[in-house]
């Protein structure tokens, strides 16, 4: 959890710098944290304790979903036995995910969970990339979004496991066979904790990675205002550009990692042996 505390301290520092910088630069520094910070666009009433307001990240989620839908609708024209154009491009990605991510970890269940895994990948990838577009924001740099996705992976894997093995078989699954009885309670608790930690880490990993590069860019550009010297920009701007390029890579890598780990966790929940 040192990562989370570090993130927190970073966030606090960033906020401070933002305030300071905003005062200095007339509110211009605010623009950089726009990608990470969320704020309400259309206030809506609370329903059953849930604030349904359309925030910036909600909008970004919808835009991501719309982009994915539009791209795949366009790809549909070229689909078929001999794929052309966009369909060919997406098919290559789909084949890679199916053969190198889904099938190795899910085995016989691969066909059933393929739509879920593929949707997770393309959805997260578009959300990650949206943060790199001007005027865009990274919805995946919001813990609520990544947590929702991680919880879905958890529920799908373990829901399916309970349905398949029955409640008793499901609980037995946590205890490896052939261990002494007195170890069972400790092991059981450890297993349950590991289970939640895994999915918690899944949410935090994506969130932290998405926040981090914006934070670094923000800090680098903030240096200009901290030193109050325009010459610092000759260092800060190229460095920030390099970090943004790295962020592009990270956007793909993290989408892939989340997807792969989702497949791994669902596969683990469904596996017969521990």
């Amino acid at each position: 959890m040192s990562l989370a505390t570090w993130m927190l301290s970073m966030a606090a520092a960033a906020e401070e710098v933002a305030k300071h910088g905003a005062e200095e630069a007339g509110g211009k520094a605010d623009f950089i944290l726009e990608e990470v910070a969320d704020h309400v666009l259309v206030p809506l009433p609370k329903v059953l304790g849930i604030d349904l307001s359309i925030t910036k990240h909600v909008l970004m989620i919808w835009i991501s979903a719309a982009i994915v839908l539009i791209l795949f609708s366009l790809a549909r024209r070229g689909a078929g036995l001999v794929p052309r154009g966009l369909a060919n491009f997406f098919e290559a990605i789909v084949v890679f995910l199916r053969d190198d991510v889904i099938t190795p970890y899910l085995g016989e269940d691969a066909t059933r969970y393929t739509p879920y895994i593929l949707t997770v990948f393309f959805f997260i990838l578009t959300m990650n990339l949206l943060g790199l577009v001007p005027m865009g924001a990274t919805a995946t740099s919001n813990i609520s979004v990544t947590a929702a996705l991680a919880v879905m992976t958890f529920l799908i894997g373990h829901g399916a496991a309970i349905i398949r093995k029955g409640p008793i078989g499901y609980i037995k699954h946590f205890i490896p066979p052939g261990i002494p009885a007195f170890v069972v309670p400790i092991l059981f608790i450890a297993e349950i904790m590991g289970l939640f930690t895994r999915h918690f880490a899944l949410a935090i990993r994506l969130f932290a990675n998405m926040v981090a590069d914006h934070m670094v860019v923000f800090t680098l550009l903030g240096l200009i205002f901290i030193f109050n010297n325009v010459l610092v920009a000759f260092f800060s701007v190229p460095a920030a550009v390099a970090i943004e390029l790295l962020a592009l890579l990270i956007a793909f890598i993290q989408a892939y990692i989340f997807t792969m780990l989702s497949a791994v966790f669902i596969g683990m929940a469904l596996s017969e042996e521990h």
Binding site: I61, F72, Y116, S144, V145, A147
Partner: protein, 163 residues
């Protein structure tokens, strides 16, 4: 700021995600994965078919080769047989002609002998007649015919003994 959990955002994420999942499943995953499987099946079938065709053609080639071999052997046999038959015919003809020639020779020889014997006989008879006539003319006056004949016979006997 960053770690605040916003239930509304969670709600919208889940709703959006599920809608996206359902739509994409209909719109994209089923057609794409279906086409993929279809293509994989097709390629598999094509490969199997090609393999089968290759085996078939190999089999046919082998068959053709064997047939050719057989045909060649048969041709060889036919030629051999023809040669043997020709040789036999030649031998037969040769033997026959030799035999015929021999027969012809034999016949000729016999005929020559026969005609020679006949000629000798004729010469002998003629000689008897001539000598008879000559003797008759010479000795007619002093000898009676009986004595004459006896003498001639005697002379002839001597002649035969000589020849």
């Amino acid at each position: 700021m960053l770690l605040n959990v916003n239930t509304g955002l969670i709600f919208w994420t889940v709703v959006t995600f599920l809608l996206l999942l359902l739509t994409l499943k209909k719109l994209a995953w089923s057609p794409i994965l279906g086409a993929l499987q279809e293509r994989e099946k097709r390629i598999q079938e094509d490969l199997e078919r090609a393999e089968k065709a290759r085996e078939e053609s190999e089999r046919l080639l082998e068959e053709q080769r064997q047939m050719l071999q057989k045909a060649r052997q048969e041709a060889q046999e036919i030629i051999e047989r023809g040669r043997k038959a020709a040789e036999a015919a030649r031998q037969e003809l040769l033997a026959k002609s030799k035999e015929e020639a021999e027969q012809l020779l034999e016949k000729a020889r016999r005929e020559i002998e026969l005609s020679r014997d006949k000629a000798l006989e004729e010469i002998r008879n003629l000689a008897v007649e001539l000598s008879l006539a000559a003797a008759q003319k010479v000795i007619r006056k002093e000898l009676d015919p009986d004595e004459h004949r006896r003498l001639v016979e005697e002379a002839l006997q001597e002649m035969r003994g000589l020849s």
